[in-house]
């Protein structure tokens, strides 16, 4: 019964994740298309930036709902630890990169890449933390 509930929560989470990912891709494509065609400024640029950030809020909220609905304490602990590690790694990475940009003039990292970097760290830390509990 518990397994069924867990599967249901996970499949609901997966479906929402797919929807938000598609929306994120669409918003990104729209941004790129408008940027190439019209080179937006002012209100339009801000509106497009908000549009791009909206699916991100959805993904985060969905993740929060999924974790809150989790009954398995171990699983929840694994997710919390992975999140903490990935937050730490992302903040450490951006701080070091930011100062390197200022000191050594290495290439500027686009702020848009911070999210994929965070996602990468979440994936790696989930794998490593889950292995510790095996």
């Amino acid at each position: 019964m518990e397994g069924k509930t867990k599967d249901l929560a996970r499949s609901r989470h997966n479906r929402r994740l797919i929807v938000f990912s598609v929306l994120l891709a669409l918003a990104g494509s729209l941004d790129a298309w408008v940027f190439i065609r019209r080179h937006p400024t002012g209100v339009l640029a801000y509106a497009l930036a908000v549009l791009r950030a909206l699916p991100m809020i959805g993904i985060m909220a969905d993740f929060g709902l999924y974790v809150a609905a989790l009954k398995d304490e171990v699983m929840r602990s694994i997710i919390y630890q992975s999140m903490l590690w990935s937050i730490g790694a992302t903040l450490g990475f951006t701080t070091v990169w930011g100062f390197l940009e200022a000191f050594v003039h290495i290439p500027h990292l686009q702020p848009l890449l911070v999210m994929p970097v965070f996602g990468l760290f979440v994936g790696v830390s989930l794998f490593l933390v889950a292995r510790r509990y095996e």
Binding site: M60, V67, I87, G92, V96, V114
Partner: protein, 125 residues
């Protein structure tokens, strides 16, 4: 123990940040090569130490309720930070905003963390 370490680290983080922005941001100092790389890592170290201490605190916290409050605040803070960075990233791509320095991500996260902690505590009052 963490309290004492934070008491030393917090002013250190602030001092290092101000020094780095003044010295390197405004180009009063001109380190190059390996020295510059080492300085960049050195400047980032107190921030990394703060995160590690926070991790230790979280793992040692016995009170489930307090831990839950902190984790919720963390999730809200990282969500808000990433959302704002995405918004900012698009504006940078559109060349509406010029600033691209990633140094501000950490202070931004700290700000959101403080707000989230306050809001989450308010909810449980």
């Amino acid at each position: 123990m963490e309290d004492r370490m934070l008491f030393i680290l917090m002013p250190l983080v602030l001092a290092v940040f101000v020094l780095a922005v003044w010295g390197f941001g405004y180009h009063h100092l001109h380190p190059t090569g390996i020295v510059a790389c080492l300085l960049a890592i050195l400047v980032a170290l107190p921030n990394v130490a703060l995160i590690v201490i926070f991790g230790f605190y979280l793992s040692e916290e016995k009170d489930e309720f307090q831990r839950n409050l902190l984790v919720q605040s963390l999730l809200w803070a990282i969500g808000a930070t990433l959302t704002l960075i995405t918004f900012w990233g698009v504006l940078v791509t559109f060349e509406v905003v010029q600033s691209r320095s990633l140094v501000w991500v950490f202070p931004l996260f700290c700000l959101f963390m403080a707000i989230a902690k306050f809001m989450v505590r308010l909810r449980y009052r």
